[in-house]
Every structure is written in C-alpha cells, then in structure tokens.
Amino acid sequence: MQKIVDVKNIEKVYGGADEKQFKALSNVNFEVQPGEFVGIMGASGSGKTTLLNILSTLDTPTNGVVNIAGEDITKLKNNEMADFRANEIGFIFQDFNLLENLTAYENIALPLALQNKSVKKIKPNVMSIAEKLGLSEIMNHYPTELSGGQKQRVAAARALVHYPKIIFGDEPTGALDSKSARTLMETMSKVNQEDNVSILLVTHDPFSASFCDRILFIKDGEIGQELKNPNHSRGEFYQEILDSLGTFAE
C-alpha cells in the first residue's frame, strides 16, 4: 500500500548566509502508513514543530524529500500547493484559529466554501462530521460562545470536513483542560479508526501521546527512539511513554 508520509533525509537550517546558522533538523527519515496514528514527542526546541511545519507544507526543508500521499510537496507550485492543501491534508492548531465572526457551522464549512463548493454539497458534509464529533447542538454558536474543548472539536471538524488523507496536529491539546483533552483525543482516535484517516500530531503531553499507535522521539533535530503500541492498551502504553521520556531525556 502507498505510504501516506515518506520523509527522506530532511534537513532544516535557519539563518541566512551572513547570519548565525542553526540546524533545526538533520537527517530525519520516517514513514507513516495509511490509517496510522503517529505522535512526535520531544522537548522544547527539539525541532518537532519545525518537522510538522515542513510536513504540513507550511515550511520547506533545506534538503531532502518529503512525499505526502504520493506527492513530492517540495516541488509543488503555488496553485498546486493550494489544491493539495485543500484536498489532501487537514490541520489542527494549538490555539484553534477559528474565525470569530463565523458560526461553528460556517467555520467547519470554510475549507469547502473556499473551494467554491455548492451549498448543497457543503451542508451534508458539514452535518455528518459535526454529528460524529458531537457538535450538532452548537452549529449556530459563535466561537466566543464555545468552551475551549468545543472550539478545538470545531477546529478538528474543519480539518476533517473535506475527507483529507492525513491530519496534522500541532499540540492540539496544549490549550485544553484534561477533560476536554481526553474528549478530543478519544474523538480523534474514533475518526482514525472509523474513517481510516492518518493522524500525525506533535505533543509533549504523554497522556495525549498514549492514544497513538506509534511515537517518534525527537531530540536536537534528530529522531532517536521509536515506541510502538501493538496491543492498544492505553494505560500500559502511557507508562511506557513515561519510562521512555525518562531515559530519552538523559
């Protein structure tokens, strides 16, 4: 089966020719299979956000190849890039990034509306994803009227509404309380299993990470350890992650 993410030898160097250079990523290689739920963990400054930005087309690597859903995203032109973002990937931010002047419904519909999809096509998509994420009751609310957890689920619905092949999450539970975080992660898990959407998220929270099938630990711009959870028992996996973090930090 075709890999969803295929990263080969990527390297990211910050700083121009006359500035102090800083290597944020070096020699990063990994793959994500369709339907896989992968977490990337690491301390602040380890390069995990840089890696996610590159994978999600927001940034470009200095060297290396990034294939997402069979497309080499480092070679996409302006409009191809826009189409790629609109069709293949979804993105969840830590601070939600919802539009304050649109209702939950309109926020979720935004990616489709930006593609000039007809209202007839948009509505069933939005309604079905909203139901799956338990948002049907709040479709006419504005973001200011929603709790943090609800906002993040609206953001997740917006990332899912166009049936992307993969969803990228940048600390999606970072701004949530533990109960909302659990609800969100359970929802993500459900979507991942039921719809076979791949998920790749960056987090430093072991609890959120325990929902993943596989975790990559990144340190000083390089991928070190890898942790797999083949038997899907979350409690045990959580302990394993904590142990790994302990040893990995040394």
């Binding site: 927001l58 409009n79 189409d83 609109a86 990034n97 539009l99 304050e100 002047n101 649109l102 509306a113």
Partner: protein
C-alpha cells in the same frame, strides 16, 4: 461567501477599524474641500488679487495629495496587519492566492468606497459652512463659489480610487510574497531592526540641509512674484524630504545620545522609555513626518485664510487711500459724513476756466494729501501710500482729476499762490476727501 469572509472581518473588527476609518473619511473630506477651492480657478481669480493664488493652491493640492497617500498607505498597512493571520489561515485551508487577492480587493475597496463617499458628503456640507463663514467674515458676496463642485468631486473620487487600487495591489503582493507560516505567526515574530550608522548620519545632515533650503527659498522667493513659481516647488520637495529625514534620523541620534548619558538614561524608567521609543521610531517616522507636514499645511491654510481677510484693507487702501471723494458737498452729504467715525477730512477748493483747474498751493501745505504710489515695473498691483504737500506730482494730479466732476476732468491742473488764485474770476468748487478707520 467570499464577500462575507472579506467583509465579515471588517464588521467584526469595527472598533479597531473605526479610528482608521474616520481618519480616511476626514482625509477625503479635507481633500474634497481643498479641491473645491483649488480647482475652482474662476473663484480664485475672481476673488483674489494675487495672480499666484491659483498656482499656490495647485501646490497645496499636491502637498495634500502626498499627505493623503502616505496616510492611506499607513492606514491600509495597519488594516492588513490585523487581517494577515486570517489570510494566512485561508491559505492554510487551501485557498488559492488569486482568491486571497480578490478578498483583499473587496475589503480594501469596501473600506475605501464607504470612507470616501461619506467623506465627500461631509466635505460638501463642511464646505458650505466654511464657505459661508468665510464670505461673511470677508463681507463680500461669493462669486463663483459653490459647496458642490463637480470637478472637485470627480477629482477626489479618481484620486481615492487610484490610491485604493494601488494599496490593494500592494497588500495582495505583500501577502503573496509572505510565507503562510509567517502570516500565521506574524504576531509572535520579532521585529528586526536594521541600523546603518553612516546612512543615519547622512540622513540627518541631508534633512537639515533640505529643511534649510526649503525655508530659505520660501522666505527669499516667497515675496517675489517672479521667483515664487520656482520657490514653491523647491520648498515643497525639500521640506517634505527634509522633514522625513530629520524625524527618521535625528530622533534616533538624539535618543541614542540620551541613552549614553547615565544621568538621564538610568533615572526612573527613562531607559525603558528611550529604548521603546528607539525600537518603535521606525513605525512612527512616517506618521510623525506626516503630522508635522500636516501642521505645516494647516498653518499654510490658515495663513492663506488670514491673507484673504487681510486683503480687504490691503485692497481698499491699495487702490485708493481715501474712502470717499465728494465735490461740493451738500447738506445731506455732510450729515452722512458727520455720522462716520474716526474720519479725517481733506478739503481743497479750486476754480476752473475753459482750459485749466486752479488749486491753491497753500491748501496742500496746510493739509498734505495722501496718494497711492504705483510701481509699474513690478508685477505687484498693490501700491504704497505716500503723503505729500507738493501736489505737482503726476500721481497726485491724476488722482485729483479723477475725483473732479466730469466737465473739469480733462483740464490742465495749475497750482497757484493765494494771490494768483484770488485774481481768477470763477465760481470756486470744493473737493472733499474723506478717510475713515472703518471702511
């Protein structure tokens, strides 16, 4: 949906927008008001004795246009900075950059159109008020002056349309050139300060030189009707540039100088304030130069306005010193003259024969006559007043002749002694000149 997204942003941020919005509105109102005057050459020519007025108004318009362009550019950049994150997100969600450009155009145009239409309406109303007040204070009927002046309206519309097209273009190019990632995290990005000491020094020197040239030409050339046509453009360019350079460089230099003095910098929160000011001065420079140029323009406008007002007496005294000339004043006329306040009367008697009008020299000795001396070699149509007890000068004679009855006007004037005057056999007439302090 596209419209809603573009315009929804405005509605939502109305409070942030309203300050800039009213600024834009006032800009277009002022522009329109100025244009009604500047473009209405008939009005200017009919009501101002100085030939350069039309020309000066033209340059005023250019200056105002520069200020407006800078202000609108600044305002639009600010509006855009509030929307950058949103546009970044649209791109993240797969919006094509052409669509983003479209949204920017819709947004910029909506703001521009509403602001300039309201502004022009305000301008029309304000012009009628200001116009009325001006006419009342000048006590003259306004010839060719109308608060609604179509050419000015069209000029304002075209001007604002062009500016808004350009700024929408600039905004959309700048959004396209910026990476999505940078748009999304614009708020948390550090501002990089570029410092080039040599350039700063050059700028402050150039600034002072430019300002010097500008004001010297204004003072030197301003009074000369011939040179004013070179002086005003020179001053316009050098003062605008000079102001910008001085504020841009001199302020940083002064702040840095102050920061190096421990006595000043380490007192209270001075160091913090100075550093903050130094850090922000780049943003403030344009707005500060604009404010100072605006002050200059306002001062200029007030000066022109006061000039108009002052010209009443200049015109009145410039053409004829005396306010009334009466031949053989009758009782009715005397009653009226008696009612005048602060009056000064000069009375000259004369006798006429077939060819000559005879005046007594002693009359002029007792009551020296004031006349207007015109210097025809200069373009100045206003004259200097001179007082003399010797009436044999051409300008005095001309004035006397002009004041006499038609039948005596073409005769030759003779100034004679009292003895000679007594021998002339003819009925004497009396010429009375009245000067009041409140024409």
């Amino acid at each position: 949906m596209l419209n809603k997204l573009a315009l929804g942003g405005i509605k939502h941020r109305f409070r942030d927008y309203s300050v800039l919005f009213s600024g834009l509105m006032i800009a277009s109102a002022i522009f329109y008001m100025f244009m009604t005057m500047a473009m209405n050459t008939k009005f200017l020519e009919a009501n101002s004795p100085a030939a350069a007025t039309v020309f000066i108004f033209g340059f005023g318009a250019v200056l105002l246009a520069i200020i407006t362009v800078v202000y609108i550019g600044y305002a639009n950049k600010f509006l855009m900075s509030m929307r950058e994150k949103e546009y970044g997100m649209f791109m993240m969600l797969g919006s094509k950059s052409s669509k983003i450009s479209k949204m920017i155009f819709i947004e910029t145009f909506a703001i521009g159109a509403i602001a300039s239409i309201i502004g022009m309406a305000v301008g029309i109303v304000a012009t009628s008020f200001v116009g009325d007040a001006l006419m009342k204070s000048m006590d003259i009927p306004a010839k060719n002056f109308n608060s609604f002046y179509l050419p000015a309206l069209i000029a304002t519309m075209i001007f604002f349309l062009v500016i808004f097209i350009l700024s929408a273009l600039r905004n959309s190019i700048s959004i396209r050139m910026t990476k999505v990632l940078n748009l999304l995290h614009k708020e948390s990005q550090p501002t990089r300060i570029k410092r080039n000491t040599a350039w700063t020094v050059i700028q402050s020197i150039l600034g002072i030189i430019f300002l010097g040239i500008g004001y010297v030409t204004m003072v030197r050339f301003g009074n000369s009707p011939a040179l004013i046509y070179i002086g005003v453009p020179i001053a316009l360019v050098t003062i605008v540039l000079g102001t910008y350079f001085v504020i841009n460089s001199l302020t940083t230099t002064v702040i840095n100088f102050l920061k190096k003095r421990p006595g000043v910098a380490q007192k209270g929160i001075n160091n913090f304030t100075l550093s903050q000011l130094n850090f922000r001065i780049g943003d403030y420079t344009k707005i500060l130069s604009m404010v100072s140029i605006m002050f200059a323009l306002a001062l200029g406008a007030i000066t022109v306005g006061l000039g108009f007002h002052q010209q009443i007496s200049t015109i009145v005294n410039g053409q004829q010193y005396y306010d009334a000339n009466i031949v053989n004043m009758n009782d009715q006329e005397r009653d009226q003259v008696d009612k005048l306040t602060g009056k000064k009367l000069n009375e000259y008697t004369y006798k006429s024969d077939a060819k000559n009008d005879y005046f007594r020299l002693s009359d002029f000795k007792d009551q020296p006559i004031t006349y207007n001396h015109f210097n025809y070699s200069s373009n100045n149509i206003l004259s200097k007043t001179k007082t003399t007890s010797n009436p044999k000068n051409e300008e005095v004679q001309y004035y006397l002749q002009g004041s006499m009855l038609g039948k005596d006007r073409m005769k030759k004037l003779q100034f004679v002694s009292d003895a000679e005057y007594a021998q002339i056999k003819s009925e004497p007439s009396k010429l009375t000149f009245v000067k009041t302090d409140s024409f």
